[in-house]
Structures are given as C-alpha cells and as structure tokens.
Point group: C2
Chain length 201, copies 2
DNA sequence: TGGTACTGAATGAGTGTTCATTTTTTGTTC
DNA sequence: GAACAAAAAATGAACACTCATTCAGTACCA
C-alpha cells in the first residue's frame, strides 16, 4: 500500500507543478501554491524533491521521457524517411495540443533552465533532437535527402521551427485547425528543402 | 550639461543590465549588481526606470529597434526576394555574433516576458517577424515562391529555426565558422523549400 | 540659495526551507 | 482480529534571509 501512495503523491505534486508553472512561470510560482494545488502540505514536497529547482527538473525529465517513448512508437509505423519527417512534425504538434500546460512549461522554461541551472544537463532533450537527426541521416543513406545537409543544423532548424509555431499557438490560443495546417505547411517546406533533385514530397 | 548626463547614465544602466541579465538571467539578477556594473547608485536606476521589469522591457524595445533599423538597411541592397532571404538569415546570425550578450538575453528572456509581463506587448518583435513575412510575400508576387505558402507559418518557421541555431551557438560557444556554415545551410533549405517548381537557388 | 542629479543605508514584504509534532501504516504477539 | 509499539509519512507554523524599492540627505551648479 505504501508504494502506491508514494507514487500517487509524487505524481500529484508533479502534475500540480506543471499547472502552476504554466500559469505563473517558474520564478513567480510559490511552493505553497503547488502544495495547495496538489492537496498536500508544503513540507511534504520536500520529502519527494530536494528543492524547487528539483521539481522543475523532474517535470522536464519525466515528460520528455514520455514524449520520446511516444514518438519512437509513432515512428515505428514506417521506415520511409519522408513519411517519418511528416509523422514527427504532426506528432510533435499534436503532443503540444494534448498537453497544453506541459507545452507552455517546456517552451518557456526549458531554455532558462539549461542555461542557468548549473547541475542540469538536458539529456532527454538532446535525445529528442537526435531522433530528428537520425531521420535525416536515414534519408541521406537512402538517397532521398541531400548529402550536404548538416545534421546538426537541420535538426535544430526543424526543432526551432516546430517550437516557435507551437509557442505561438499556445500563447495566442488559436483554434486547433491552425496546428494541423501548420504541420502540413512545415512538412512540405522541410521535405522540399532537404530533397535531392528528383521528384519528391 | 544635464541632458548629456541623463542620456549617458541611462545608456550605461541599460548596457549594464544586458550584461548582468545575460550572466544570471533576469530573475537571478540583482538591481545592486546592475548598479555596480553601471557605476551608479542603486537608487539612481529608479530615476530612469520605474522598476526592474521596466529595465528589461526597455532593453528589448531599444535593442529590437536598432536591429530592425539595421536589417531594413541591409535588405535595401536588393529587391530580389531570394537574395533577401539569404541576407536576412546571414544578418540575423551576424547580429547575434556581434552582440552576444544581447542575444542571450533576447533568446532566453523574451519568451518569458511576453508571456508573463501583463503590460508588455512585444510590438517591435512582431515588426521584426513581419519583415520576414514581407519578403516571402514579395517572392510570391514575383512568382518565385509557392502561392500556397502561409506567411504566418513560414515567418515563424524561419524565425524559430534561426533562433534555435543562434541559441545553440550562444550556449555552446562554438566558433564563429559554425554560424556562417549554418546560415548557408538554412538559406538553401528554406529557399528550396519555398520555391516554385522551376530551377531555384 | 534654490534646484537638480544623485546617493546608499534602511526598510519590510515576501518566501524557500526546516523540523518538532501529529497521523497513518506496518509488524508482532496473543 | 484486537491491542500495542515502532517506523514511516505527512503536516504546517515559524524561521532566516533576501532584495526591490524608498527617501532623507549630499554634492554640484548657476
């Protein structure tokens, strides 16, 4: 019984933290508010996390872990690199849609954190980026994508584009069709942008 | 004499603020540290700015103003949309290179701020984005870029890509060649991605 | 001597974290 | 399965500290 309770409370705290961080931003969030939202005492939080930073880091790591797992599964459906690019884009934006508060926290706080939290190295985020790189590499190997593509630049360009689009959606609260349309636009642009000189798309 | 003094001190405070914010992030920066860096008393800062937020907002607005002016001038050199895309990309990354501390502040703090600072609407930033949109629109009008491009999505995609690449450069402190190479990569990818079906680039 | 620019010590509101205490769970014995 | 004790989990009031902001005073000038 104890282990169930444990996990439950820890999870409730993390869930509450996402909500509160999304609303106020990390620095303007109070531990007391997270505690209230999670329906635990503020001291309880310190049984599960070392300090406030530690809560945020755990939000990042565990969410990204889920996201990566989800994405790997999605990409398993095909081995066509062109289709995989499309699937990646669609899935990323869909994830943002389905976990809006989490999206807000990731987009707004992640940069801050990996710049200023000395101890934090965003391993999972790097792993996520490298999923993109791998797709492009496969495309090159199959002769579909240009050989002179720098994987490092390309993966960042795609991620940056996705991130900015998702950020705009999150902040302006446009309707959901926007994201679907944006996914198609971006997919086409990227695919034509990286294709070798044959017919593509 | 007084007006000279005024302007001078105000500028010193802003310059110091960029430096300190870049080093610590906005929330971990102390007014006292900005004051020390600017060689003024901490009280003096409140003669020029309403509060801490106001300093950051003024950093944004005035820097972006300069950047926009600079970019407009750069783009004046040609009216070929394809070349303009290249120039925009090169110039943006060059700006980040030449004003590294400012780049750090813009990239890391701007998102936070326009999400959480209620009174702040990032007019200048929007204007900057719209420079990109205008280039793409001209390209469409001249039949060089696809008609079905959504300007809203495309401008954000390009900006996001640039921002992510610049962020990576800023944080990892790679050498300067990286940025030049990245600019060429990105320019090619974007131009092929948006081109109509003729030969391009 | 009046006005302006500036100073920096003092203030006090706000908050992450601690820890003495209480509550709940688990294990043991009859 | 009741009664008890030891351990574990949870509580939340109080603490210790930080720092943005203020303002009474100083310096300088015309």
């Amino acid at each position: 019984m104890s282990s169930i309770r444990q996990g439950d409370k820890r999870f409730r705290i993390l869930r509450a933290a996402v909500k509160v961080f999304a609303k106020n931003g990390f620095h303007n969030s109070r531990i007391s508010e997270i505690a209230r939202e999670a329906e635990v005492a503020s001291g309880t939080i310190y049984l599960y996390f070392r300090n406030k930073d530690d809560i945020l880091i755990n939000v990042f790591e565990e969410s990204l872990d889920d996201i990566i797992r989800d994405m790997e599964k999605e990409l398993g459906a095909t081995d066509d690199p062109r289709l995989r690019v499309k699937l990646f884009i669609r899935r990323h934006l869909k994830l943002m849609k389905e976990h809006r508060e989490l999206a807000e926290v990731l987009q707004v706080e992640l940069r801050q954190s990996y710049k200023f939290m000395k101890e934090y190295e965003p391993k999972h985020w790097i792993k996520y980026l490298n999923i993109i790189a791998r797709i492009f590499k496969e495309g090159q190997e199959k002769g579909l994508f240009r050989e002179d593509l720098s994987l490092g630049v390309t993966k960042r360009a795609l991620f940056g584009a996705l991130d900015e689009i998702a950020l705009h959606w999150v902040l302006t609260k446009k309707d959901e069709k926007y994201l679907d349309a944006a996914a198609e636009q971006l997919a086409r642009m990227v695919l034509e942008g990286v294709a070798t000189r044959n017919g593509s798309s």
